[in-house]
Symmetry: none
Subunit: 119 residues, 10 copies
């Protein structure tokens, strides 16, 4: 995660209850580390919160921190899982990224995290 | 729940029978507690009534009580479950909220309640 | 059921065989007991007949008997199950009602009946 | 079955093999025995043939034999099963009829036959 | 199979691996043996190859060999299974034919073959 | 694989985690070995990476290496699985190819690879 | 028009105003005069009334009078225009009939009438 | 036109009136004169009849007469206009043919005829 | 035009009549002269023939002649108009090309030719 | 225009002919000058070239030059017209930009340029 971005959390209003939050970020952009060209895609975050929830305005800034960063799709999807799961310690989380064509090729990456497996 | 709103119940006409009621509120609005900006979304309420059913006109006023209230999506969805489930003691309830984009980001929250689990 | 409506039955032509009849009534109207305003909805009746089948013309008149009656959605859906299941003694029946928006709110009610459970 | 219609069968070309034939008759019409008004619907016949298959031109004439006949939906659907299953002795058959609105009400009837149950 | 058509096979490039080939023939035509009128339909062939795969150009000619042949839907669907399965000895095969309306009636036939059952 | 194409891999950023990468190549073209005519199709690659991920620019060049190569659909789909799975040793992979009509006939081929089965 | 059917009219409530009435009859059936086989189609009637409007229950009986009548599509569409326009003297009328496939061929006939042209 | 096919006409029931007949033949097939391979397409015939209308059963046989005939799309579309317009002398006619892909290429041909231009 | 491709013409079967031919080539591919990367697109050719029509098999080979040629979209669209219009001298022609995204950018080029303007 | 971006032109291959080029840039992003937040939108460029055409790879870089620039929608749409029309002197050009919602509000800007009006 970019060092000057502070991802904020707030207390889960019902920590004793399992429920699902789905966040869609259709305006994601980063930079290809190989060509220096911009990449465009959509990021979908689904999670069951533990003690903390992700505050959406700081999430927006976190997502914007990739704007001029050179990073592969596979790395950024795993980074988002690690950063978000590390910050809010959810019971379960899945992050799915879908990128628009580059050289006629489209790519999706889907990563799951479970508190029990700690993977 | 806003203190000057009185949510009304009426007797379940067939308390001895399991059946499902689905209520959709596509015109929900509240205020972001962080930015003071209005949020717009749809609330879906599904439940199997116990002894009481929710009267719809008072539900409409209850839903309108969020109009000028600053509250996060996660908190309001859980509040609706707690208020409605507290008032009508259903056998089962699920509340799902879907909000339109803010800063290019959309959010859904889905919460279930079960009389047996008392969560 | 309105007292001056006579719901007619006819002999099930194959009482020894389990088969399903699905009846859709998309032009249902009743009156809200709280506001006196008309409600509009669709009623779906599914059943496996026992010794008797429901004659459709008398069903139409029965459905029309709700036109000027003040009744909640939950009560009328249960009433329809009780009246129809009482009259034709089906092996199984489900009645689903879907009402158009009132005050921006839509409502569905779904009730099942089973001869074995006698609920 | 109308007495002057001769439903024809032909030898199943592979009687030792289970396979499925699906026949759709979207242009079915009969007459309501109560009002004398025409009814319109679609009949779907699915079956696994035994020793015989149903010849389609004679099936067309059989279906046309209902054109001016007064008969309830429930009876005609069961009649079709009895006539067709009686004539071709299938391993399994299902007949589904879907009728267009009468008095604002639509009706479907679905009947299954199995050689093993002999129902 | 028409005697002057030579269905060609080629060696399965990976005979040790189970994988699926799906071939769609939407421009199939044959002749009704009863009326002499042309029939039109689509043939779908799905199979898991054994030692041999079906060469597509010769399959096209085989499919064209039905163009002026009088044959019932049930027979031709079973014939295609027998000819293709006989020629390439697949581990599994399914042929589905869907014909356009004749006399207002449409017909589908679906036949499966399994190397284990040898049916 | 064409000898002058170097498929590149990069280290899986989270080798300890099972996650899925889906790559779609809708602009694939090769040549029919029988007729010399160009074929057009879409290739879908899904995999769970092991120690290595497939770099997309080199994948694009690998896909372009089929542009003027005469090869059957069945062989090229299996070749792609063997080349990609050989290069990146995934935990699981599936390659599906869908080709546009030739002689009125369309063809799909779907091949799965699993590290456990080593097929 | 069948002689024992009496098409009824009623006074146009606003004869001084041009407005359009569209009537759809999707359950039309007649008989082919050449083959004796039933035909099925939809009749659409659009008109700007003059002094009289067409009463719909009598129109239904008029449409049913074609049920067992042998008549070509072109003749019946023109007959309907002549009968309806003759009975209600509209300022303008168009009748469009759309028949389902016979021998793989579908047919539409569209006829306009204008009071000014008296055609 | 194939010499052994007799296209039949019948008297236009309203020769004094301009109206439109639209005939769709989605099951058209002919043979490519260059490759000997079958072609498949849809023929749409629109016309305003003069003294005569085209009888549909004979039209079906006329359309079937192209089944095994080698002819280019452009020639057959013009032939159909010449044969039909020559036989029924319409006030106006348009024939549109749409053929399925051959070698990845689809073709439509659209020809108009007008009695006034006599083209 | 590639020198070893011979575009063939045949005599327009009705040179005295204005009619329209529409040819769609959805499987077009060429090479970017700047990057050497393949481009993919669809070419639509519409024309009113003069004395000659374009033979489709030779058109297919002409279209394939761009497969490994480096050429800009604007030049190839104009080249196709010049080659085809030069060869068949149509009364009117329009060629439209639509290319898939490169660097996230899609491009269409549309060129018209008219015999009168000789442009 | 960003000073370090060199927009390239190439000679119009047919300067004597009026024809239309349509370029779509669905992955456009810039920065709001008021909030510093990223904006996302699609830019459509249509033009009739004069002596020069716009080279697409340099256009891509020009479009990317807005990525981190603070500029209002109205200004950037006009800037694009001025830069592109200034560079290639088209006979006619239209640039349309469509931006995704900000604060629940979407915005489109459309600007035309004509060589004759020199606006």
């Amino acid at each position: 995660m970019s060092e000057n971005i502070q991802l904020e959390m707030f207390d889960n209003p019902r920590p004793g209850r399992d429920y699902t939050i789905t966040i869609s970020v259709p305006e994601f952009t980063s930079v290809c580390p190989k060509t220096g060209q911009p990449d465009f895609g959509e990021i979908i975050i689904e999670y069951i919160p533990g003690e903390k929830c992700i505050e959406l305005k700081s999430l927006k800034y976190y997502m914007q921190s990739f704007r001029n960063k050179g990073i592969f799709y596979e790395a950024l999807t795993n980074d988002i899982v690690d950063t978000l799961a590390g910050a809010c310690q959810p019971r379960w989380m899945r992050v799915t990224s879908s990128f628009t064509p580059r050289g006629g090729i489209t790519t999706d990456v889907s990563v799951e995290y479970s508190a029990e497996k700690r993977n």
